[in-house]
């Protein structure tokens, strides 16, 4: 199987929900950091709630009537079927409208869309998960999968960066992940003297450990400039390009590769991504304005 085929979704999930939004109720709002919260949503249609499936790394289009849609990665456990978590940063019209939702309000969902982290094909490997800022929610479902199948994977290293200590997401879960033998390296761009942890950027965390490129895969998500340098560090350590997986961000609208808003070269990020093997997108990676 090629690396590109590995990320493509094989399971048919919610085929009926790709064009028409299904209504879901906000059942819980979990503030994560300043301007970021996780919305736990439950479909109003109980049959859909039971049937809905997604794979780690996929996203939904969240629809706010009067405002439009925004592509939001699913940040919850794929095995948790009753509610779906979306961790949202409030930066645009739609996400700011989501910020005004209260428990019991409804939101439209189309999806799930896109490719997934090929965790099932990475069993037996050492994994480096390099994330920054709002890049950790799209990888949390993959981490849940790994935790549930921990014995099937080799060494797991999470490299996690944020702007400041108060911007770190899912802090309450990190200790649990550590207990499951995940080496977690956290760094922040800036801090005051009260911060006892590391200060610096995610790519430099690669300097602090050794990896075996023949048995290592790298999964990365975050600002594209961070991804670029994470890939650079992985390549410098001879990790093959088809064992580096990147989740790309583009302005996604239709979710089905029709409108072209999210095109990168021959690919539509919404349909052929957001998760790509680096080998597929490498030719377009350093092309300006692609």
């Amino acid at each position: 199987m090629t690396a590109l085929a590995a990320v493509r979704t094989s399971a048919a999930v919610n085929d009926g929900g790709l064009l028409k939004p299904s209504w879901a109720e906000v059942v819980k709002i979990q503030p994560e950091a300043e301007g970021i919260a996780t919305y736990w949503l439950r479909f109003q249609d109980s049959n859909l709630s039971k049937a809905y499936r997604f794979l780690p790394g996929q996203f939904n289009m969240l629809y706010m009537p009067g405002y439009g849609e925004a592509a939001i990665s699913i940040s919850s456990d794929p095995e948790q079927r009753d509610v779906i978590g979306h961790t949202v940063r409030f930066v645009g019209n739609v996400t700011r409208a989501i910020n005004r939702l209260k428990i019991g309000d409804v939101v439209g969902i189309r999806g799930p869309f896109g490719t997934h982290w090929p965790v099932e094909n990475l069993e037996g490997k050492d994994l480096i998960i390099a994330v920054g800022g709002i890049g950790i929610p799209p990888l949390r479902p993959a981490i849940y999968h790994i935790l549930r199948n921990r014995a099937k994977f080799g060494k797991i290293t999470l490299l996690y960066g944020a702007r400041t200590p108060s911007d770190l997401l899912f802090s309450s879960e990190l200790d649990e992940w550590r207990k499951s033998d995940i080496d977690i390296q956290i760094t922040v761009d800036r801090a005051d003297s009260n911060w006892q942890g590391q200060v610096g950027v995610v790519p430099t965390l690669f300097y602090k450990f050794r990896l075996d490129p023949t048995r290592t895969a790298v999964l990365t998500c975050g600002p594209e400039i961070m991804i670029r340098f994470v890939v650079f560090e992985a390549l410098a350590r001879r990790v093959p390009t088809n064992q580096i997986y990147v989740s790309m961000e583009r302005n996604m609208k239709c979710g089905q590769g029709s409108c072209g808003h999210c095109q990168i070269g021959p690919y539509f990020v919404c349909k052929d991504g957001p998760v790509f093997p680096f080998s597929a997108v490498e030719p377009y990676f350093n092309v300006e304005d692609f």
Binding site: A71, G133, S193
Partner: protein, 163 residues
């Protein structure tokens, strides 16, 4: 501050010095000492003369800069086996531009900078290896500084995928 002598065995055990000859490792050992530090202890201060090149043995050191009316800002931390105070062997930056402070208790290998420069000038094989390592450190710091300057985690302007 209480400096302690360094054994040749310690120098041999440090990965950074693995590509030095035994003779060069002995030279480094003779000009080095161990500098223990405690949590919150100031190791050097902005404006101090740069007379040591440090290598972290254990612990964590924060590099801070004082900004008037904003206090101390922590801009980088240095971890075991990483170099600290590379300005000590440059002519361009003769004084410390940052303050180094212990985040927790630890130890530094302190290499006498004037002696190291002299040894590098007298033996270019040693000089090449030392400067090669220092260049790598500076390149890494420059890359990190550029990324921090970009403030890449600040609010994006578009409604691209936000979560």
């Amino acid at each position: 501050m209480d400096f302690q002598p360094v054994s040749f065995e310690l120098i041999r055990s440090i990965p950074l010095f693995a590509d030095l000859s035994i003779q060069h490792q002995k030279v480094i050992a003779e000009m080095s000492s161990i500098r223990p530090f405690q949590e919150n202890e100031e190791i050097f201060h902005e404006g101090d003369t740069s007379d040591c090149l440090y290598l972290m043995l254990d612990g964590r050191v924060a590099l801070e800069i004082h900004i008037p009316n904003r206090g101390r800002s922590r801009i980088l931390t240095v971890e075991p086996q990483e170099m600290l105070g590379w300005s000590g062997i440059t002519d361009v930056v003769p004084r410390r531009t940052l303050t180094a402070r212990g985040v927790c208790d630890g130890r530094l290998l302190c290499i006498d900078a004037p002696k190291l420069i002299k040894a590098c000038e007298q033996d270019h094989d040693l000089g090449f290896v030392v400067m090669h390592h220092v260049a790598n450190v500076i390149a890494g710091r420059l890359m990190a500084t550029r990324m921090q300057l970009l403030d890449m985690f600040s609010d994006p302007s578009s409604e691209a995928r936000h979560g």
